[in-house]
Amino acid sequence: MGKILMLNGSPRAPRSNSKQYAELFSRGCKWDAEYAAITRTNHLELCQRLEEFSDLLFVFPLYADCLPVTLLHFLKTLEAHPPQRKPTVSVLINCGFLEPEQNELAVKILELYCRQNGYPFGSVLAIGGGEAILGTPFRILVRSRLKKLAASLERGAYGRWKVTMPISKGMFLKASTKYWLSYGAKNGVTGEQMATMRIEE
């Protein structure tokens, strides 16, 4: 039986959607799956811990069209301090946009990293609408794909999946506007204020 280290590369790891995705993944996984958030100070510790694991699952959001810099920094440390036994690397990525395909470039970057550094590459789950989908009835779709992701790691039969809200783009725009208006209202900020065109003025 293998052992999975889930590394959260979100800049807001303790309060992140990525943390929730990792928790859901571990619930559907029969293997021992341990979780850690990448911080500024724990890179070397995480590199050392990797010796114990057969699989590494990077969990992170799309950030400015690719990997969050939190994860980029860690990858550079890992390149300099690789484990002796290299785990199979899989990816669980989410973006706030409806199209899970917007995550593909970030996955390509990680695949390239794995090729350059000798890590076997495993499975990918790309989630669209990732900021809000867990608060909708469509979370059941996410759970189902997370189970497939976990099963693929357990069997060594790797694959690629994507999931998003099965709604029209027009409906997504309306739903996302409502979501963000509600987010602002909790801070006492109106939609008009949120829509300001001013930058640092």
């Binding site: 810099v69 390239l112 725009l173 996302s176 640092e200």
Partner: protein, 171 residues
Amino acid sequence: MTLILSDRPLHIPDMDQSTTELIDLSALKIANCVGCFGCWTKTPGKCVIRDDAVGVYPRIAASDRVLYVSRVKYGSYDTVMKTMLERAIPVQQAFIRLLDGETHHVQRAVAPKQAVILGYGDTSAEEREIFRQLVARNAKNMNFAQYRVEFAPEDAVEQVVREEVASWARS
């Protein structure tokens, strides 16, 4: 307004300082974005982290011509440039629009840009192709009206930038 945003010091003697600003990110203190959404939902258009980045993203937004100079790492911008690009999200709103059939954030007052992205370092053909694809994605989210991606070895970066700046003077 033209902006040269670089992850390393550059010496460009022929640069017209009345129209062009050079920002060396390596000389600035810029923390990582913490993903708090404050710039969208608490203080719209302003980052809650008040470090050197708050002087940079308004310049990015206002510029109609940009030259970004970044080391390429794994087909991505290396960490210095990537940190700044992540901290530039106050130039967008939380709200989503359709652009070319895809969902993207609404831009605030961001001038459409003629962009040149200069990636440098010891890069493979595969890394260069991924980087080109990354810039194509950025074009949608950073309001690039037109863009060009160039590559240079590290020791040729300054010369390539000087030639680009000289070409602006001629145009």
